[in-house]
């Protein structure tokens, strides 16, 4: 099962569209509700990151019988120091983004907490790709 979604820069109104759609799919597949929750939380964080920090991007989802693989690839400023970005509370979000309740520096740590595999690759000035996997069992 393959799904793709487009994320538009600054479009907070539609944040969560991809994760909601993935949620519905996983419910139909009878995936354990707690696993569904982890997937949705992680994907939502990644979606918001692409909206808040980058110039939009793509969400690519592949589901098989054992696991879900999610790739959120954005075109944007990139992350100079990924290890630093993985720390709780570290944020480079602009004040107006923070005013909307986003950008608390919990995004990447929260993804890490909820998925079984996380891989972040980034090139400054080009963009960031977040790859996540969650096992169903």
């Amino acid at each position: 099962m393959h799904q793709e979604y487009t994320v538009i820069e600054g479009d907070f109104v539609n944040a969560g569209k991809a994760s909601s759609s993935v949620k519905k799919t996983l419910k139909q597949l009878n995936v354990n509700p707690q696993v569904v929750k982890r997937v949705v939380v992680a994907l939502y964080e990644a979606e918001v990151n692409a909206i808040a920090h980058a110039y939009g991007g793509k969400v690519i989802v592949d589901i098989d019988a054992d696991k879900i693989k999610m790739v959120v690839a954005d075109k944007g400023p990139g992350i100079p120091d990924i290890a630093l970005a993985m720390q709780e509370g570290y944020s480079t979000a602009r004040p107006e983004v923070r005013d909307m309740g986003f950008g608390a520096g919990m995004g990447l740590p929260n993804m890490q907490k909820n998925v079984d595999r996380l891989n972040v690759t980034s090139e400054v000035g080009v963009g960031t790709t977040v790859e996540m996997e969650v096992n169903f069992q």
Binding site: M1, Q28, L29
Partner: protein, 453 residues
């Protein structure tokens, strides 16, 4: 398999599909010119009942006269029942008429509202890790969460609602007077379909102690008729006391639980669509720091219940007026404490827990994930070819629901009118076959002849 209280009266059903289009859980299909309800999807919210133009949807209840077989019949009355009557009809007049109709005892279920509140607070203290806690008050909401939001079932407080607590109280009280159980008949006057299901097939319990349910509007007719027959000069037996507090009266209305809860951040949401919009967000963890949720399926909560006779706002305001009077008596120290109910408080709170709410997802395509994936891919492929206008001519509410039905073997692809036209033009289907298909959904007498313009 799954109990639901809403039922379609087939001879009356005109197969108009209004119910199919409004059902929030897509539980209704049209076939053979008639609507049918898929029991695993129905949560008894009653939106179909409201829109049916033919009164073809009814709520299962028990024979009205059946309470007479009990020497000690108890009318468990929702306070919205009192709110149905015009201002000049007093509370005590309604009670007196119920006694005249033959009920041995009348008790408003909201008299247990404060005990329900305490039971919820106790549960909240004992389960500090579960947040938000969702009220168990509205049975349609509990069922909605079971079938559509399985990850939230553990947030629903498994606590008996005021109705059950009040029934337990009445039973204990009568038995303590030495009255045998078989002489006691507990009858709930139900304002909606979901509460019938809550009595007939309770969530988290084997069986309810309530012996029967009576529809609120049929009782209203009988009470009102009796009052008319009694005439203006009739002497009604005065009610010795009114013991319902303002908080208790308001508890069934929107915000009724929230306004007296101790949670720091809480929401009260009414209307099934509003509730679903919120739960979608909550399930994604998009709402933070919520401690308590009061969710009600009906707009204006129980004042807007299906079997409400009067307008929901008129009924709600009458209840507010009654609550204001009660509050004034409380302020003046004229409200006697409900010592009778207090005697049973600890007993009721100790026995207020039911089993945890279990998910029963309606959404699962197959219990085997591999097969479910296969089905889903078929549905996705099929959807691309369907018109995506949700016209409903196939007898399903949306193209997606139709595709799912087809893949799950519950509908024939030829029911899609656009697909049929395509086949007819390609010479793969005769006009006669197309017509037969159309009639299999809608019945064969929709158009009787040519229409003159």
């Amino acid at each position: 398999m799954f109990y639901h209280a809403l039922q379609i009266d087939e001879p009356r059903c005109i197969g108009c599909s209004r119910c199919m289009k409004i059902c929030p859980t897509e539980a209704i299909r049209i076939s053979g010119g008639m609507a049918s309800i898929q029991e695993h999807r129905c949560i008894d919210c009653g939106r179909c009942y409201e829109v049916c133009p033919a009164q073809a949807i009814s709520i299962k209840d028990d024979d009205f006269e059946s309470f007479r077989q009990y020497k000690h019949s108890v009318a468990l009355l929702p306070s919205v029942f009192i709110g149905q009557f015009p201002d000049e009809v007093s509370v005590s007049k309604v009670y007196a008429t119920l006694y005249e109709l033959g009920f041995a005892h009348v008790v408003e279920v909201e008299s247990a509202a404060m005990i329900y509140k305490e039971a919820k607070e106790k549960y909240a203290r004992e389960h500090p890790d579960v947040r938000p806690l969702i009220s168990s008050f509205c049975p349609a909401i509990v069922r909605l969460i079971q079938i559509k939001y399985p990850s939230l079932v553990e947030n629903v407080m498994p606590i008996k609602v005021p109705l059950d607590l009040c029934a337990m109280y009445a039973l204990e009280e009568l038995q303590s007077r030495g009255i045998p159980r078989e002489e006691i008949g507990l009858f709930y006057i139900t304002p909606c379909a979901a509460k019938v299901s809550a009595v007939k097939a309770p969530v988290g319990e084997e069986k309810s102690i309530i012996d029967g349910v009576i529809n609120m509007n049929s009782l209203f007719n009988r009470v009102y008729k009796r009052m008319k027959e009694n005439g203006k000069d009739h002497q009604y037996k005065p009610l010795s006391r009114q013991r319902l507090s303002a908080d208790a009266i308001l508890s069934t209305l929107t915000n009724g639980e929230r306004r007296i809860c101790t949670a720091k951040r809480s929401y009260s949401i009414d209307g099934i669509q509003n509730v679903m919009d919120f739960l979608d967000k909550l399930e994604n963890d998009e709402v933070e720091g919520v401690e308590f949720l009061e969710l009600r399926a009906c707009d204006q909560s129980c004042a807007g219940a299906l079997l409400s006779v009067d307008n929901r706002f008129l009924c709600g305001e009458r209840m507010y007026a009654r609550a204001r009077k009660a509050a004034e008596r409380e302020r003046n120290g004229e409200m006697p404490r409900d010592r009778e109910m207090e005697k049973y408080k600890d007993f009721l709170i100790d026995n207020s827990l039911v089993d945890e709410v279990q998910p029963r997802s309606m959404m699962v395509l197959d219990s085997d994930i591999g097969k479910a994936l296969e089905k889903m891919e078929k549905i996705e492929r099929m959807k691309v070819h369907l018109p995506q206008i949700d016209c409903g001519v196939c007898g399903a509410p949306t193209c997606e629901a139709f595709a799912t039905d087809v893949v799950c073997g519950q509908a024939d692809l030829h029911r899609c009118v656009f697909y049929r036209l395509h086949l007819e033009q390609a010479g793969k289907m005769t006009l006669h076959e197309g017509r037969t298909n159309m009639y299999s959904v809608w019945g064969d007498d929709r158009i009787s002849g040519e229409i003159e313009v």
